[in-house]
Subunit: 345 residues, 3 copies
């Protein structure tokens, strides 16, 4: 299978946290392609094939010299466009001494790479994750390497009924599954909304506000193919208006996720969790950083267990869908449609 049969290629993917480039070049495989990311002299980021044109040496093990990258083996130097600018011991550079480059953009504290046709790489297509660097929000986040398919995250993040089971001690309460979801669709977005009324506040919300009584909760998911997820989660005292769609009396946080395929069976998982209140409360920031890390790692364990079973099980076995999959199924159809139209083009 070619990459364009397996993945949506004409899309932006998160390759790294910006701070991951602070210590030098970063080698990371994205959609089966080994890529080296590094900062150039003007502090922008370059993304080149992580394999020297001479003898396959990973450039990511080299050093940066004046914003160019030097192969650690024989010292060939490449500029941000992947053109070789120096071959030690000779003045003439072979014309074919170049490595592939990819369009790359730094935005929202993340490094984004475009894996398809470079002509189509429009930075305006980068999905909105402004919560990650908006001064009105404080955001905590992390990166997990996951031995599981990016597709399993679509299941995971579009059906939050799992919080009652996977995240019993962090995000969930038993009542979540009693409330149905409403699924709507936009132009390349799927929205899955759930309102939960008159239930106890889950543990993470108890950390941010001392809810004395029952609450009304919401989980409002926006999915953007292939694997971007913005989730508005919140609580308000039961009966204070949330039931009518008024969230102003409550507490809102954004739980945002972007998953980048390393291969068909392994993923780079980037997430952040943002709040717009008690911005200077560093203890709360630390508490939320730890709590979300714990919770989202629970998902990683689930997904890795699924993947291991899928790898060994008879995958011709039919699976069943349940009501809670309404959003998942809509997202899968959209995804398959996009993959199909990509094959035609």
């Amino acid at each position: 299978m070619t990459n364009s049969e397996k993945y949506l290629v004409d899309r932006w993917y998160v390759a790294a946290w910006a701070h991951e480039l602070d210590k030098g070049p970063l080698g990371r495989t994205i959609l089966d392609e080994p890529i080296v990311f590094f900062r150039t002299e003007d502090n922008t980021v370059a993304a080149l094939e992580d394999s020297c044109a001479h003898r396959f040496m990973p450039l990511s093990k080299g050093r940066i010299i004046s914003g160019h990258i030097e192969c650690p083996y024989h010292g060939l130097v490449y500029d941000k466009n992947g053109n070789c600018t120096r071959v030690p011991g000779q003045s003439k550079i072979p014309p074919s001494a170049q490595v592939r480059k990819w369009p790359v953009v730094e935005k929202f504290r993340w490094i984004w790479v475009w894996m398809g046709d470079p002509q189509k790489a429009d930075p305006n297509m980068i999905p909105d994750f402004h919560w990650n660097d908006d001064p009105n929000w404080v955001s905590v986040g992390d990166y997990f390497y996951v031995k599981g398919s990016w597709r399993l995250f679509v299941d995971n993040l579009l059906d939050l009924s799992h919080v009652a089971f996977v995240h019993r001690s962090t995000l969930g309460t038993d009542g979540v599954t009693n409330f149905p979801v409403k699924v709507t669709q936009g132009d390349e977005t799927v929205h899955v909304d759930r309102w939960i009324f008159n239930e106890p506040a889950p543990p993470m919300f108890q950390k941010v506000r001392d809810f004395k009584n029952q609450v009304d909760r919401w989980q409002m998911i926006t999915y953007r193919p292939p694997s971007h997820f913005v989730i508005d989660v919140g609580c308000a005292d039961a009966g204070t208006g949330a039931m009518d769609g008024d969230r102003s009396n409550g507490v809102t946080m954004f739980s945002n996720h972007s998953v980048t395929p390393e291969t068909e069976k392994s993923s780079h998982y980037f997430w952040h969790h943002a709040r717009d209140f008690r911005l200077d409360d560093r203890v709360l920031t630390q508490t939320l950083a730890q709590a979300t890390k714990t919770a989202f790692y629970e998902d990683v364990e689930i997904i890795e267990a699924q993947q291991e079973r899928i790898n060994t099980a008879r995958i011709d076995k039919p699976i069943i869908d349940i009501n809670a999959d309404a959003g998942v199924l809509r997202a899968r159809r959209m995804l398959e449609g996009l993959l199909d139209s990509q094959k035609i083009n």
Copy 2:
């Protein structure tokens, strides 16, 4: 290859020690099938496909609720028959929401699973391992996970001439190989008997009785396909009758083994070692537990080394047989005959 080409499927296999279910569900792959074992409300054992019908999640990572098992991902619940009894968030259970089940029986402190046609699962076919829970015997035992084929255990346990080499410090004495074996055959059993006369007592027997002089020894193996082994081993003072088949003046212990294929190249190895004397001597029990564990692990190391060589060697190379293989060859013929007749049926 299908399972019925690789394994004898219409047989009982040991899946676990009973106590392994004390702490909750147990996931174990048997004959390439991932299975979850757990106790139901009446304390009997259920064996279900270890993969939720919804999204492949291993049920063995879930919890038991009133004798049913709950998927840790979305909370689907299955009864002991593999039928889904609850889908959170909906009252109607999809009719295809079920997972495969296998017949399972608890007997002799072991959990037995039937891997073939459920209609044929007759508990009377479970081979006799009563020594493991008979009040007249004290039995020690353990479980080893082995990176080697169950077939290599047939070689190992039907030719005890290896004790002189593999178990030099535990079970063997050099003279063992000087005495021939007698091989007989029953209906689905092979018997390999060896009498060893006027030799030193091996180290393990020195632990149970202070033999001052030479002894007569016996090794009486009963093999039952595919991989059940009952071995009566004993010693008596030389000349006290053993030579005439009278074992009453000696010390008898049963060294019993049952090997269950995980895959063609890996096995679950269950064994116990039973004695009918000094039943209350807990120091002796402890000594024997440690000594047998040491000795049988020596076999595991041999088998794993063989398997590794087989994996990489040219296995088209012919191998030779030796006199000591008489029992092994008889067992293999029986086994191949049973596998062949299984293919026909």
Copy 3:
């Protein structure tokens, strides 16, 4: 692919350091063949198939008895020719009870094995590595197991321009690449010579002589297929004659390497480093042992990184060659020619 398509088989390969056999038999896979090496009663070395003719047990896990090797499983004994001399429990040895043997020679403190037609095994064909046991030289050396192809060592050791990058802190100075190499060819040898004039002495030469000023340096490589490398490296004070080919005022050391394929993707790397001055200076010996070990392990890291990239990269991608590859390309042509003629024969 058969071995003779992948490797030059009618050649001597280094299998081990002689001292590796001091503690008993040594199991090592050479050109995909598992082999056991051990000392016989007259202290010569035997090389047998590391797999008992009976049940595939690796003989290398057994013990030596009077110069023969005993299988650790059932005690079959083999002599240095691979003939079985004992089967416990029987007097007649099956005529096919034998394992393959390979010609083997101990020379220059190394154990050499001939992997092709035994009739052609001429010890005079062992390449000259006398520096390793010549009393006029003191040699330090070691063995590295490398997860990389032996072919990558041909690239590595025939193009020493990499010392300026890989070995910046040990062997290299930046100027190396400014000086061209001269490539000549003999009968089954390739020679790559480089003279470097009026440069600083590299760190390792500073350890052996206190060079106050600039030096003239030389790197004179002799390659012998498939993977033997003798490298004369030296320094003299700049202007003391080296420029005219006179090395007598300088310091010479030999950096010698022999690489044996384990498989196509893994290698046994043997090397030594010899000097003919300050022979009794044990501190210097220790210093050089450590320094060379550090330096040559830097190459191992490079080669393993290349191999990993080659394993996953699209190897249909064309690579470029540079001026410094002149020796490499000559060596590759010679190697391919030899491999081709081997296929024809």
